[in-house]
């Protein structure tokens, strides 16, 4: 009798696992985006850290970072990999949050999820930042039965492609040690946007 009960339990657990994969990924995205905006527009001291911690709980951010590096992953020394992933995560988040910031808290409109295949989906959204509409598409993939963010496309510009092109160019003349140095400079230099290139 106990075996029968256990079998039914296992069967329903298995069923729920497969059902989870069929849940519309936009539901989780909606909740996550709302919470990210709430943190962003709160008066918190360390918004960036809080958002990274929150997003890491909701999604496996290493996936999008690994995708930005693409084939360059093999060019990175093993000792530098964890640090580079951490630094790029901060940089990508900076780009993402910069795109979401406005004078007032943006409104997000979610359109219907487009299923590209059984393991790929796109969630188109429109962000109204200071009343200006910005089209933002989340590209998602089913990884280990869970929808994970593979790419974010802001106004037709893919974060993954844009960063991957930069890494391709960077690794033609530089090493992973140089990348660590470059990323650290980018993330610490507060006056970077005012620095003179000439």
């Amino acid at each position: 009798m106990n075996i029968l009960k256990l079998s039914f339990l296992a069967f329903f657990f298995c069923l729920s696992n497969n059902l989870f994969a069929t849940i519309d990924p936009s539901i989780q995205l909606k909740e996550t985006s709302e919470n990210v905006l709430n943190i962003l527009y709160s008066n918190s001291q360390d918004t960036e850290k809080e958002i990274i911690e929150y997003l890491s709980k909701e999604y496996n951010l290493d996936i999008i970072i690994r995708r930005t590096l693409g084939r360059n992953w093999n060019k990175i020394e093993e000792g530098h990999r964890a640090k580079i992933v951490k630094l790029i995560k901060q940089l990508v988040l900076l780009a993402y949050l910069d795109g979401m910031s406005g004078k007032s808290k943006p409104e997000i409109e979610f359109s219907n999820t487009r299923y590209i295949s059984s393991k790929r989906a796109e969630v188109p959204t429109t962000l109204y930042i200071d009343n200006k509409p910005i089209v933002l598409v989340y590209r998602l993939g089913l990884v280990q039965g869970k929808w994970e963010i593979l790419d974010i496309v802001i106004e037709n510009i893919s974060i993954v492609i844009t960063y991957r092109k930069q890494f391709d160019a960077f690794f033609t003349n530089n090493s992973s040690k140089d990348l660590v140095k470059k990323l650290e400079t980018l993330l610490t230099d507060e006056n970077l946007d005012q620095s003179l290139p000439l």
């Binding site: 296992a10 696992n17 990884v143 280990q144 037709n156 492609i161």
Partner: protein
């Protein structure tokens, strides 16, 4: 109960349950290292950016960057901080409306008759009811919203002219061999183009003033985006090139 289900049925049931259970858990195991096949990636991931003029382009980029950050940005900040938003919006609407001939011709050359008609209708409403395009009463008509902005570069692409190499144009910024002539022609079609022969006349002073206002109005939109790309880039030149080419390819595909 024992009489209904015998031992072999138990075994089969447990086996099939475990099989189903394991299929759910391990179905995506091949994705653990996040490497997806090219078909499963979105196709544009593999696009190659043709840039044989890269060394020259990078020099032009440095010049442009200096110009944008050191000259355009402070002037634009003064404009934004000292001009009410309603006035800035009116300027923007006015200049967008003036570009109607380019949008009309570009739609017509691509045989987009409906879009050409809608553009004309929009121009007619905004130029009259909207007082020279300063206001946009056409927004009240849903079918007149969201008409894609067509340009001559898209026309050339639809005619099968290849994109050609990427070109960084002084002051104007990123372009391609196909888009650059399109931009020059568009400038000639522009209502408020400055003709160097007329610099001495009073009219040309107004035209120059309008041109300056147009540049300020454009910069208000473009510069914040440029600065945010620049701030979060490992290689801002490559980021700008990739962003421009991605955006153009999507505009052309529509």
């Amino acid at each position: 109960m024992k009489t209904l289900i015998n031992h072999s049925h138990y075994k089969k049931f447990i086996l099939s349950t475990m099989l189903l259970f394991s299929s759910g858990i391990f179905a995506d195991n091949f994705n653990l290292d996040y490497e997806f096949s090219e078909e499963e990636n979105w196709s544009d991931d593999t696009a190659v950016n043709s840039d044989p003029l890269e060394s020259i382009n990078r020099l032009v980029y440095q010049f442009n960057d200096f110009f944008y950050i050191r000259i355009f940005d402070p002037i634009t900040n003064v404009y934004v901080n000292h001009t009410p938003k309603s006035v800035r919006n009116s300027f923007k609407n006015f200049f967008v409306n003036l570009k109607y001939p380019i949008r009309f011709i570009s739609n017509a050359f691509q045989a987009k008759i409906k879009e050409s008609y809608y553009e004309s209708l929009k121009f007619g409403i905004n130029s009259t009811v909207g007082i020279l395009g300063i206001n946009t009463p056409s927004d009240k008509f849903s079918f007149l919203n969201g008409i894609p902005d067509e340009d001559l570069g898209q026309v050339f692409a639809s005619w099968g002219i290849p994109e050609g190499p990427f070109i960084m144009v002084p002051i104007l910024g990123p372009s391609t061999l196909r888009d650059l002539p399109a931009r020059i022609i568009a400038r000639e079609i522009n209502f408020i183009d400055v003709n160097s022969d007329n610099w001495d006349t009073v009219e040309s002073e107004w035209i120059a003033l309008l041109n300056t206002a147009e540049i300020l109005s454009m910069n208000e939109e473009i510069l914040p985006r440029y600065k945010s790309v620049r701030k979060a880039s490992i290689d801002p030149y490559t980021a700008l090139r990739s962003a421009y080419l991605q955006q153009r390819s999507q505009e052309i595909a529509k």
